[in-house]
Subunit: 509 residues, 2 copies
């Protein structure tokens, strides 16, 4: 990893003396801050050794303040859009019908969804809690932020992005003296005014409290749950069940929420894999109460797993998921929310009139639509418009991305592989074709496993939205902070824990 970084950029060891000593001081500050504030991940699955999460030393993504405010303003309407789409089972199943035929995972999810809707308490399907995250890239041509995808399940780094923003603000203040003499070192630095003071520089990294927003929403959901249970609530109280992957290395981002939920609200969070849920949890047939062990009732089911086929090793895991969905717990997210986050629905929403079906024809829809990239469905290869774009993509594969329904990084097809897939004989209905957003490259100092490289990078901006809604009664709808991931321009992959990209922050100008 270090080697590829060094190949892609210039090694810091080669920097001129003054710059090198500035960067070395920054690196030491970052290693201290990450170690002391939970910006860590497991080194391996041995559960003990820790290493800092990959980060940029300084805020990496320069964003015009107006564009930043524009995408922030979309978080609440996106929350509403997901809720409205998810409340329309006919629309979900129609839209996903062709993809479900090709994609087994989509089929399985819809099967669970149908079981809930056809079960004894269909209204539990609409006890919705969401930590959504809409991801954007800067389109160099239009100079706009275009949506890459809308995550409705397991939107990660909400906790660590909050702490990283604190770190970058502290650095801009603490290194004020040095920063002023090194404005040219990083794109953000050259945006600062020559004599800009520390407080002003700091305020360019937007304040956020995504940790607080998420745990406040958990606590509010737990409060709703307790209210509905009243004196019937069991002796162990109501807990938040966090469903996790068993080989998770990025545990700190999850545990920060666990700790803060306890500190702020005295609400306990229990971590379990789907297999453990299958083993330990029970669902009351008469009342739909989900219990962990004998006593503790589950008020919220919070999924940091279950978005990938690999999370369902067998029938047990699917039964566990069904149990979660059929329970009276708030679902973060429900299976309907998860389905609405799929690529096919993203592509459908971009079709004429589709978004408007849920959000009307007013200014709100127009604003949402302005961030959409161009997207094409591939169900009907005989359709002249589809034929036309496929022909264009075969000739210009670098202008497109081919995305499968499946969630989780590493599945997209680019360049030659995209061309091969389009030229092949396979059915493409579980894929969507998307405009490849060409972003401006920028130099960043990236720190991974203690090794620092200065490299050409690309950045992606995520905006969190938190939402709580019980069968149409909206309780919380809030935009909540930003996440920047910065990756080497030479890589098509983007996973942070896997080491392909680094957490960073926006710097507004």
């Amino acid at each position: 990893m270090v080697a590829s970084g060094a190949a892609a950029g210039s090694s810091v060891g080669g920097a001129p003396g003054e710059e090198a000593s500035f960067i070395s001081a920054l690196k030491s500050e970052v290693l201290t801050y990450t170690a002391m504030n939970g910006l860590l991940m497991l080194e391996s699955s041995d559960e003990v050794g820790l290493v800092h999460v990959p980060v940029s030393l300084l805020p990496a993504m320069a964003v015009p303040r107006g564009l930043f405010e524009e995408v922030r303003a979309l978080a609440e309407p996106f929350n509403v859009l997901v809720e409205r789409f998810a409340s329309d089972p006919v629309a979900i199943k129609e839209t996903l019908a062709a993809a479900a035929k090709q994609d087994e995972f989509t089929r399985d999810l819809i099967r669970v969804y149908d079981a809930v809707l056809g079960g004894p308490r269909p209204s539990v399907a609409r006890k919705n809690l969401a930590v959504n995250r809409s991801d954007y890239m800067m389109d160099q041509q239009s100079q706009r932020l275009l949506q890459v995808e809308l995550n409705t399940i397991s939107s990660s780094f909400g906790a660590q992005s909050t702490i990283l923003a604190q770190m970058h603000r502290q650095i801009l203040s603490k290194f004020d003296f040095l920063r002023q003499s090194h404005r040219g070192l990083w794109p953000g630095g050259s945006l600062l005014e020559e004599s800009e003071d520390a407080a002003s520089a700091q305020s360019r990294v937007p304040y956020q409290d995504t940790i607080g927003d998420i745990v406040d929403a958990f606590a509010a959901a737990a409060g709703e749950y307790r209210g509905s249970r009243g004196s019937a609530l069991g002796p162990g109280g109501a807990v938040v069940l966090m469903v996790v992957q068993d080989d998770e290395r990025n545990v700190m981002d999850q545990q920060i929420l666990e700790q803060e939920l306890w500190r702020r609200h005295g609400v306990r969070m229990e971590r379990r894999t789907l297999a453990q849920v299958a083993e330990e949890a029970t669902l009351g047939e008469a009342d739909g109460i989900l219990r962990l062990g004998d006593s503790r009732e589950v008020a919220v089911s919070y999924l940091r797993a279950g978005y990938s086929p690999a999370d369902y090793k067998g029938a047990e895991e699917w039964e566990a998921r069904l149990m979660l969905e059929q329970s009276e717990a708030f679902k973060c997210p429900s299976i309907a929310y998860q389905l609405v986050g799929s690529k096919k629905i993203q592509q459908y929403l971009a079709e004429e009139g589709a978004l408007e079906r849920f959000m009307g024809k007013g200014e709100e829809s127009a604003s949402l639509r302005r961030c959409f990239a161009s997207l094409w469905g591939l169900e009907d290869l005989g359709d002249p418009k589809t034929k036309e774009v496929i022909d264009h993509a075969k000739k210009n594969p670098h202008l497109y991305v081919l995305k499968p329904q499946r969630e989780g990084g590493g599945n997209n097809l680019y360049d030659e592989k995209l061309r091969e897939a389009l030229e092949g004989e396979g059915d493409l209905s579980a894929y969507i074709l998307m405009q490849r957003i060409v972003s401006p490259m920028h130099k960043s100092y990236l720190l991974r496993k203690g090794e620092c490289v200065n490299a050409d990078t690309l950045s992606e901006l995520g905006i969190y939205g938190v939402y709580l809604c019980d069968n149409g009664r909206e309780i919380i709808n809030k935009c909540s902070g930003a996440l920047v991931r910065t990756k080497l321009a030479s890589s098509n992959e983007g996973g942070v824990t896997a080491g392909f990209s680094c957490l960073s922050t926006p710097i507004l100008h």
Copy 2:
């Protein structure tokens, strides 16, 4: 390490089911808390991989509330005692004369001390800042806490002990439900009332803010320094210089102070080894101003190194130390304070009238004296009283400890090695003989590198005292929190970072 633990106690894997599941939940809580709150140390000197510091899962040392308050009340008089002794160069040099003949390190320290006193600004020797820590063990026979030693240099774990106390208080509250059904699992548990509520149980782990007390004292010293410099203060401002060992693994305990000093007071702390000080720092001949690089002035020299001969690899390091001592910076500690913390002076103070020479004959001296263990000097082997105790120690080596002047763990002689030393021909004047305090053993759950063992252990209680005094003008004198270290009863060694002992907390009853 794990193997020796398993040999000394019963492995947790062998515990009955309910207990094992309670301990497993505790362990997971502790791993989360330590990872997120800087209770970490470097796995090795590679500067990146981290692992939790060894800790006990629960407060390990049961202490009667009255005894705890008694030793807390000694912290301020001990601070004063150190200041008064350190202000009497004749007393220091007389007391250490015999030891200095035998011990090269003591001789070197006194040489630096003489150079400061004989230099152009002898008053800088009394710009004193102290983080003292008096360590006690429970004497089973007398049921009193007896002083093991008084640390005047590099008293470590002030920061991490504060965070560990927070962790143990949180555990007593969060695991309330489980704790009540497992009161018999640990000595502290059986002290709790049967139906004691979480808040009451929590309050048995004394609140402390040693982090705040230490950084407030640093900031006060920096303020005094800035006040005395006025408009002459250079552009980089006044910093705290933390002198560290180059292979330090316990960096987090130090960096927590660095971070908090910045957060609370906007005062910067710079970490340097003695060799780096020799290379980078300069001392103004005319004004005694110590500078790092060209601009930053050093307001406080804070030693987390320099207490062991190994920290002085050559003449450069000694020159660096002399530069620190001769500067106008506050010294934490000064060389005089360091000398007053030596074993020989501890033994001298226990002699009739010696303590009283500095503290008078009143109740204060009587209180201090009550915590003294029996100590004997070994300069005059012809003295009948010395002969008598040596004869007794040769026959009963298990009742004694033989301690060299040198600081840092691992140098004490016990049992057969003690007998051999006393029977040998060597000069013993650089050693003191001390009553071995026999403490009650207790079972503890210890967590080291993620492995949990339940073992017979012994605990030691440290009480911090913070002190700031400029040539007799006392500015701060404060008792500040507790440290418990718990070690396997089967080991004579006690280093936490080395893995021999674990950080813990007192539980009062």
